[in-house]
């Protein structure tokens, strides 16, 4: 599924077919081969090959110094990642899922995010933490949540949410080059996504949102796996003559508000699609910014399509009902557009 995204560029001589999972794996491999200070550690990243298969084969290829299996101690190995970063390394810490990252929340929030500030600018922490996020695989309430919006609340860290293959491939290196802690959230539903990628794909920026589809009638603002629901909805709407502009936030902190504010100034309508819960969410933040800074551009109140306010349930029909769906986006936009003709 690539929903009509044109990933080719004029100067790319060779395109390869790949998956999101392989793109992340290639990015890890490249970083480790390129910079001797880079290594990856986390639970089951080595012998098991990664809980989601991302790091399969890397231990055999790169050795145990570069691909380190850790015990089950999220706080311990995340803190060790911070220490190693302070000691001159460029660690990539993999936390299996965002739910487990709460066991490391102390190290992420109280140490990584505060260290530079508490030390008056003396010590920066060049650490990258990758983790799985999102629901949709019937993994129930302790493996399915989308807490990246929570992390985006915290000053001192950066929060990346790669949705497309280029970003899965290119954000890691940019994150490693960043002097401060960067969290990368990989929606686990995306790992199997296939597509074309230039063979020489490389680093991408990690500070801007991106317009994935140009439109004039409504702005759909989303990120990560929800982006594809927004694009699917835009296809359906296009058949009805409604042209939706689709924005991929890419980065939740710092938030590139200029991109969505400019879009709203053009379309006069905004719908935010977020797999996190509605209350106190990143969608609430975006909605607030639109209200604060583009109020007079709006023809309609901002709409939000978020996860239902319930721990994600196991049963498939209930889980699907809890998560944002393309049909809901379509219906919401239809309602908005017809409201004013």
């Amino acid at each position: 599924m690539n929903y009509g995204i044109d990933t080719s560029t004029d100067n790319s001589p060779l395109m390869i077919r790949t998956t999101y999972r392989e793109a992340v794996r290639d990015a890890i491999r490249e970083a480790i081969l390129k910079d001797d200070r880079v290594f990856l550690m986390g639970e089951d990243v080595g012998r098991y090959g990664g809980a989601f298969g991302v790091t399969k084969g890397l231990l055999q290829e790169l050795g145990p110094d570069k691909i380190m299996d850790t015990p089950l101690c999220e706080s311990g190995f995340t803190g060790a990642g911070i220490g190693a970063a302070l000691g001159g390394m460029r660690p990539i810490v993999e936390v299996m899922t965002v739910n487990f990252s709460l066991l490391a929340a102390d190290q992420i929030l109280n140490t990584a995010a505060t260290y530079l500030h508490m030390s008056g600018g003396l010590f920066n922490v060049p650490l990258v933490i990758r983790m799985g996020t999102g629901g949709g695989k019937q993994l129930a309430a302790q493996h399915s949540h989308s807490l990246e919006g929570w992390y985006a609340h915290i000053p001192g860290i950066k929060v990346l949410t790669p949705a497309v293959l280029e970003d899965a491939r290119g954000m890691l290196w940019s994150a490693l080059e960043d002097p401060d802690p960067v969290l990368i959230f990989e929606n686990t539903l995306l790992y199997n996504m296939e597509g074309q990628l230039p063979a020489n794909a490389g680093a991408v920026d990690i500070d801007r949102a991106c317009i994935r589809r140009v439109g004039r009638d409504v702005t759909l603002i989303s990120y990560s796996a929800s982006l594809f629901k927004a694009l699917e909805a835009a296809e359906t709407l296009a058949q009805e003559g409604i042209e939706a502009e689709v924005i991929d936030l890419r980065v939740l902190r710092p938030l590139d508000e200029a991109t969505f504010l400019n879009s709203v100034a053009k379309t006069h309508r905004a719908v935010i699609i977020d797999e996190g819960w509605r209350s106190g969410s990143i969608s609430a933040e975006i909605s607030a910014r639109i209200t604060e800074k583009a109020f007079y551009d709006l023809d309609d109140p901002v709409e939000r399509i978020c996860a239902a306010e319930v721990p994600v349930p196991y049963a498939s029909h209930l889980e699907q009902a809890a998560l944002p769906q393309a049909a809901t986006i379509v219906n919401t936009v239809r309602r908005m557009v017809t409201r004013h003709g």
Binding site: F39, C73, G87, L116, L122, F123
Partner: protein, 335 residues
Amino acid sequence: MKKKHGTAQAPAAVNSHQHLRDLLYQMLRIRRFEDKCAELYSDMKIRGFLHLYNGEEAVAVGVMQALNPEDAIVATYREHGQALARGISMNTIMAEMFGKQEGCCRGRGGSMHLFNKEHRFYGGNAIVGGGLPLAVGLALADKKLDRKRLTCCFLGDGAMAEGEFHESMNLAALWQVPVLFVCENNQYAMGTALKYSHAVTNLVQKAASYGIDHAAVDGMDVLAVEEVAQKVAPAIRETGKPFFLECTTYRFRAHSMFDAELYREKAEVEQWKQRCPIATLTQQLKEQEKISDADLEAIEQLIHQEINHAIAFAEAGTWEPVEELTRFVYSEPSI
């Protein structure tokens, strides 16, 4: 008593007059500094939480003798003693507590968060146990980069009930990284006595259960602390293996400036004060005629002057402009 030589920082033989006097001077310097901090707190010059080190000076001073300039230190929120003994200037520590931008962290950290790059002093951590994984990581970097240096991680008995302690012990032993864990067992986690926080109060046993070499020492005896630290530090650097050192000590003052000390008897405090590491060493040196009253007076004078100078420095310090409030959240591009 024998002492290993060969480090840049190592003083002359442990029993030399000069070295013994220096140990006394360093402990006294911390004691007088802390007493002055308490006064300055009452004068509202220092605010926030202030945790004083009175009674525990032998631990920081004794351990610090064994560390090289290349070694790293991770400390707790009760870290003025470590910072001073490590050589961070008293001026910048005092200015930090006054909240001035001339402070070692520009007034962003305060008493609980002292940092210094030159001395590899990695804080000042106010999350109990939070510094331990960090120390493991610093040592892991040294192992990976094949640097023969150690990370000295101070922790309290309270931290040993935290999950991060057990995670860090396991990681340090599993990865075999050069960390010297120094437990300052002052027998209280804030106001909760050891026996109320630990099912097993024999603390070295916890390190032993992770296969980590360990020792317990009288933390009120600076010479004993130094001796064991001098013995184990080179071995940690050489073998790259962690070591756990328990120093039994006692906090003479309240936990912080907000503590009414309802949880312990005055008699107990007085009993421990009889074992004051400074009084003990002074007594020893006097009996051995290694120090005179005039020497002591000179030391007191020297410290008095330094503290006064530090206060003047802090008073003369400036407030960081509020316009700079949001600096140091992310790294600034180097010019």
